[in-house]
C-alpha cells in the first residue's frame, strides 16, 4: 500500500468521534471475565468497566503504526515485578460471605486488584500443588480466600480468629493457612491482569493506570502522531547525512507541529563542526539543536536564541514554509543549500514584514511531536521535558546513554514519565525493520 493511501486512512480515522478504548493495545487478549463474575465477592466491584460501549481504534494490519512500541514507565516496570506475601485459606463457599464480613473487622481491606475469593479451578497452575484441596467433605464447595498481606496480621492471630468463627467452631477443623506471593500493585492493562491471573493469583484490571499514561492518552496521542513513518525516516536520513558530512555524529531530530502538520525544525548532530577557533561544541546534539531552531523560529530573525553559538539550519536540510504542510526538502549537496539559505536571509533582511510572518507565538515546544533517530541522552531528554513536548518517537535504543527507556538493560531512567518531575510526555520506540538499522554509537550521548 502506498504511503499516501496509508496516510489518508490514518487521517480519515482521525475524523471519527474521539472515543477511547481503555485497552487499545490489548484488544486481542480477551480477559476471562464472565466466568469470574459468578463468584460471590462483596468487596469487589462488578465488571461494568468491560461492558461499556467503546469505540475501538483499529489499526490496519499493514499500518506503519505497528512499528511503534510504547515505552513503559519506570513505575510501571517496578509495579510489574514487585510481589507481596499474603495469607490464603480455603473456606466452604456457603460461609464465604460470613467469613469475609467478620474478617473486615480485624484486617484492613487492601489489594483491591486481586480476587478476594477464588474457585479452585481458577487457581494458577503453579499454585495448585501447593494449595492442595484440604480434607473437607467432598460435597462441600471450596473457595480460596485471600486474607491480607502477612504484615497485617500474625499467623497465630489469624488462626485464633478463624477458630472462633461459626463456620469452623462447629466442626473444629481449622483451615490450613498458606502464604503465597502476589503482585503488590494493580495491573496496568487487561493483558497484564490475564498474565498475573495465570501466574500469581486471579487479578482484576480496573481501567486506569496510576503508574503511567492512561491507556486512552496513549491511544489518543498515537492517533495524533503526524505521519510517524516519514518523520522517523527523515530523522534517520538526517542522521546518515550528518555522519557522512563529518560535522557531527550520526544522530538526527525532527520536530513537528501537530496543529498544522508542519515540520518546525530538522537538525543533525553538530558536535564535530568546528567554529572559527577550530573546535566544536560537545553539547550540539541533534535534539538540542532542533529545540533551538523552534525557539529561533518563534523569536524571529532580529534576535538570536544563542548569541554565542548561532542557531542555523544546516547539513543539507532546509524547510520550505510556503505550500503544503510537512513539505521538506532534503538535499545532498550542502553547497546549494547554503546558497538558498543566504538568499532567504537577504530577502528577509530587506523586508521586515516577512520576518514577522515567520514568528509564531507558541510556548516553547509545548505539545509538539519529536522524532529522533536515536534515544536521547540525559541532557537532551531533560531538554525535551523542559520544552514541554507532547510526544517523542525514537529509533535506536541507546542502552548505555539513553535516558528515556526504563527497561532493564539500560540506564533505566525513564525520564519521559516520572512523578517527581513537572512535565511528562508519551514515548515510543520505532522498531526498525530489517536493513533499517542505523549504526549505533553505544558509548556516546545521543
Amino acid at each position: 500500500m502506498s504511503l499516501s493511501i496509508r496516510l489518508h486512512r490514518l487521517l480519515s480515522q482521525r475524523l471519527l468521534p474521539l472515543r477511547f478504548s481503555s485497552n487499545f493495545f490489548l484488544r486481542s487478549q480477551d480477559f476471562e471475565r464472565h466466568s469470574m463474575t459468578n463468584l460471590a465477592s462483596p468487596t469487589m466491584e462488578s465488571e461494568k468497566f468491560f461492558d461499556e460501549e467503546e469505540e475501538v481504534f483499529l489499526i490496519d494490519k499493514d499500518s506503519p503504526l505497528h512499528n511503534l512500541v510504547p515505552l513503559r514507565t519506570l513505575q510501571e516496570i517496578r509495579a510489574a515485578v514487585e510481589t507481596i506475601d499474603v495469607f490464603t485459606v480455603p473456606i466452604p463457599s456457603r460461609s464465604a460471605n460470613a467469613v469475609l464480613s467478620s474478617l473486615r473487622a480485624i484486617v484492613p481491606t487492601s489489594l483491591q486488584h486481586l480476587r478476594r475469593l477464588v474457585k479452585p479451578c481458577y487457581i494458577p497452575d503453579s499454585l495448585v500443588d501447593f494449595l492442595a484441596v484440604p480434607p473437607t467433605p467432598p460435597e462441600e464447595n471450596i473457595l480460596y480466600l485471600l486474607v491480607c498481606p502477612v504484615t497485617d496480621i500474625s499467623e497465630e492471630n489469624l488462626s485464633n480468629f478463624l477458630r472462633e468463627l461459626p463456620a469452623f467452631s462447629a466442626t473444629g477443623a481449622i483451615p490450613r493457612i498458606m502464604t503465597v506471593a502476589v503482585p503488590s500493585s494493580q495491573p496496568i492493562s487487561a493483558a497484564q491482569a490475564t498474565e498475573w491471573s495465570a501466574k500469581y493469583w486471579p487479578a482484576v484490571y480496573k481501567r486506569g493506570n496510576p503508574y503511567g499514561p492512561h491507556p486512552s492518552i496513549v491511544s489518543q496521542t498515537l492517533r495524533g502522531l503526524i505521519d510517524p513513518e516519514n518523520h522517523i525516516l527523515l530523522a534517520k536520513r538526517i542522521a546518515t547525512e550528518t555522519a557522512s558530512s563529518g560535522e557531527g555524529l550520526g544522530f538526527g531530530a525532527v520536530i513537528v507541529d501537530p496543529q498544522t502538520g508542519q515540520i518546525l525544525a530538522a537538525a543533525g548532530d553538530a558536535r564535530l563542526r568546528c567554529n572559527a577557533k577550530g573546535w566544536g561544541n560537545p553539547l550540539d546534539h541533534a535534539a538540542m539543536r532542533a529545540i533551538d531552531m523552534v525557539a529561533q523560529r518563534r523569536l524571529g530573525r532580529t534576535q538570536n536564541v544563542r548569541p554565542d553559538n548561532k542557531v542555523e539550519v544546516w547539513n543539507g536540510v532546509y524547510l520550505e514554509d510556503e505550500g503544503a504542510p510537512t513539505k521538506i526538502v532534503v538535499k545532498l549537496d550542502g553547497n546549494s543549500i547554503i546558497k538558498n539559505e543566504d538568499k532567504d536571509r537577504n530577502a528577509n533582511g530587506e523586508d521586515g514584514k516577512e520576518v514577522d510572518d515567520r514568528r509564531d507565538d507558541g510556548y516553547l515546544c509545548h505539545n509538539l511531536q519529536v522524532y529522533l533517530s536515536h534515544e536521547p541522552c540525559v541532557m537532551c531528554s531533560m531538554a525535551l521535558l523542559h520544552s514541554r513536548v507532547g510526544s517523542v518517537v525514537f529509533g535506536m535504543r541507546m542502552s548505555r546513554t539513553g535516558a528515556l527507556n526504563a527497561e532493564a538493560g539500560g540506564r533505566q531512567m525513564g525520564l519521559f514519565w516520572r512523578p517527581e518531575l513537572n512535565w511528562k510526555f508519551v514515548c515510543w520506540q520505532w522498531k526498525a525493520g530489517p536493513g533499517e538499522e542505523i549504526e549505533s554509537h553505544e558509548n556516546v550521548d545521543a
Partner: protein, 242 residues
C-alpha cells in the same frame, strides 16, 4: 523574625556564648575566668557583641565567587528571568558568567550554565573544562548536570538545592556513578564530578521566591498568584565550606 532566623543558623556553641555575654553574672565562660581583669569585664558588659559578628565564618574564595553568581542572578531577576546565575572559574579567574535566558530566547534550554558554556566555547577549547569549576546559585537541573558531565567539568559549587528537577542530588544524581561523558575519569567511578552545595543557599532561595510570586504570562494557562506573599522563613541553612 529575622533575629529568630539568625539564631536558628547559629551553631549551639555560639548561642551559649551570646547568652553568657548578655548575662555576665555567670562567670563560667572561658574568656572571663581565664583573665578576670577589670577591662575584660567592662568589655563584656558594655559592648555586647552583635549576634552575627562572631559567628560569620571567614568568607572563603568560594563565597566570593558565589557572591558574583548571586549578583548575576539578581540581574536575571531584573530582566524577568528565573534568577539563577553562575560563574565558571579557571585558574582563579572567572572566565564566563551566565544567567537564565529562557524567557527572552523563548527556549526552555537556555539555562545559566548552558549560556555560559556557549560563551566559554566561543574563546576556549572544550578541554578547558577539566580544569574549571562552576559556581551556580541553584543546583544544576538534570539537563545541565548531564551537560556539565559531558563537557567534563571539574567541580560544581551550588547554593540552594533544586528538589523539582535537580540533577546533582535534588531529584537524580547525574553527576556521579557510571555513565558516559566527562574527561575526569578518575573520579566517582568514571566521568562524574564532585559537588558542594549550600553556599549562600538562603540568598538563592529568596531570589527564586521573589521571581515565583510573579505570574508566568507566557504559559498557556497562567496560574493566578494574587494571594501569594513573598516568604522569607523556612530557609535552608547555609553551609560553611572548607
Amino acid at each position: 523574625m529575622l533575629l529568630k532566623h539568625l539564631i536558628q543558623i547559629l551553631s549551639p556553641k555560639m548561642t551559649i556564648r551570646i547568652t553568657s555575654t548578655t548575662t555576665p553574672a555567670t562567670p563560667t565562660t572561658t574568656p572571663i575566668t581565664a583573665a578576670p581583669t577589670e577591662a575584660a569585664t567592662i568589655t563584656t558588659t558594655t559592648t555586647p557583641r552583635s549576634p552575627l559578628a562572631p559567628v560569620t565564618p571567614p568568607p572563603t574564595i568560594h563565597h566570593a565567587y558565589m557572591r558574583s553568581a548571586l549578583q548575576i542572578a539578581t540581574s536575571a531577576l531584573q530582566s524577568n528571568e528565573v534568577p539563577v546565575g553562575c560563574v565558571f572559574v579557571h585558574n582563579s579567574r572567572i572566565i564566563a558568567s551566565g544567567r537564565n535566558d529562557t524567557n527572552r530566547s523563548l527556549c526552555g534550554t537556555r539555562h545559566a550554565e548552558l549560556v555560559a558554556i556557549d560563551k566559554i566555547l566561543a574563546t576556549h577549547p572544550p578541554s578547558i573544562f577539566k580544569e574549571t569549576d562552576l559556581y551556580v546559585t541553584v543546583e544544576p537541573c538534570i539537563m545541565c548536570a548531564s551537560a556539565l558531565r559531558q563537557v567534563g567539568i571539574r567541580k560544581v559549587y551550588f547554593g540552594c538545592s533544586n528538589d523539582r528537577f535537580g540533577g546533582c542530588g535534588g531529584v537524580l544524581r547525574v553527576h556521579e556513578g557510571d555513565g558516559v561523558g566527562g574527561e575526569n575519569k578518575s573520579r566517582n567511578g568514571g566521568g562524574g564530578y564532585e559537588v558542594v552545595g549550600g553556599i549562600y543557599s538562603s540568598s538563592a532561595v529568596v531570589k527564586l521566591r521573589e521571581f515565583y510570586v510573579q505570574e508566568n504570562g507566557r504559559a498557556p494557562i497562567a496560574t493566578s498568584k494574587k494571594g501569594r506573599e513573598l516568604k522569607t522563613d523556612n530557609l535552608p541553612l547555609d553551609v560553611d565550606i572548607l
